[in-house]
Amino acid sequence: MSAHPLVGHHLSEAEHLLAHADDNLVLAQRLGEWISRAPELEEDIAIGNIALDHLGVARALYTRAGELEGLGRGEDDFAMSRPEREYRNLLLVEQPNGDFAQTMVRGLFFDAYQVGLWDGMAGVDDTELTGIAGRALKEARYHLLHSSTWVVRLGDGTDESHRRAQEAVDRLWRYTDEMLEELIPIRRHAWGRVVSAVLAEATLQVPEDPYQRGGGRRGLHSEHLGPLLAEMQWMQRSYAGLRW
């Protein structure tokens, strides 16, 4: 297990998997907010598919984390019964959808990160996890294709779409360090190359403001996660154990 790229000095493997599962669940919930509101029917379906991909990864990781933890907790317990402070997702994924440009830029940053993340898990000593990561890698590559295609079109589009895309980059850039800290340097550089290339093609500028925010991995969230969880969890919290 020493070669596991996720295991740091203080968190167990189960806790690491939970954090990644939280990323996927929270982003799935966020993307689900687009359903029936996307600019076009085709885009509605595309975003719905991507949300379901993330939900599937979250479920698999929660289940695996529960097995490793050995306390009998499963996916529903992790998803529906933990309060905000126990969620360890990145601040980036809980940020509001904003306009379409903001959702696509958030996707670009996160998808490029997940491609590196899942690729790095290919060699870990846990066949269950490598199976999950292998499938997730294929999905993440497609998500990245989708988001980068849109960022290029928005950035290099009309004056208004360019303005909105640049505002999204400026607004979300501050959440990237927290995410990239988890990648080994070579993958961090790969992220930088991919994202810089897309932004360059999109005629968008990387912000020069060095300000960065973190804390999601320690359960210190922005004001946006609470309402998301409240909406997602209220049924299970009102009718504990409800099934359908």
Binding site: P39, E40, L41, E42, E43, I45, A46, N49, Y142, L145, H146, T149, R153
Partner: protein
């Protein structure tokens, strides 16, 4: 297209205008999928997209979902040429010329798609 939309006080019915605008700016594409090697691409539907690249991505999402076909084509609907219905009616009806139909041949199963 105009139709009555419930509008809240102070709100304008901009939804319609945007729908018309996007229908103008996003052209239609016809989608063809080949489910596996060895059979022809089959037309499965159409969609809106801004350009060929996004049309392909949309086609993947709308029509192939998880069961990826072996191959996917998209063609601008405006590039499809067709006969008018009245022109079709002038076509020779093969049913009136049964000698043209190979109905008396038994096709061996091994031939497969034919």
């Amino acid at each position: 297209m105009t139709y009555d939309v419930p509008v809240a006080p102070g709100e304008s019915a901009v939804v319609e205008e945007r729908a018309e605008l996007s229908a103008e700016t996003w052209p239609m594409w016809e989608v063809f999928v080949r489910a596996r090697r060895g059979i022809a691409h089959v037309h499965i539907g159409s969609l809106h997209a801004a350009d060929a690249e996004t049309a392909l991505q949309n086609a993947r999402d709308v029509y192939t979902r998880r069961g990826e076909g072996a191959s996917l084509w998209v063609v601008r609907s405006s590039e499809v040429h067709a006969f008018e219905p009245e022109e079709i009616s002038d076509f020779v009806d093969a049913n009136e010329k049964p000698y043209r139909l190979a109905t008396t041949y038994d096709i061996p199963d091994e031939v497969g798609h034919m």
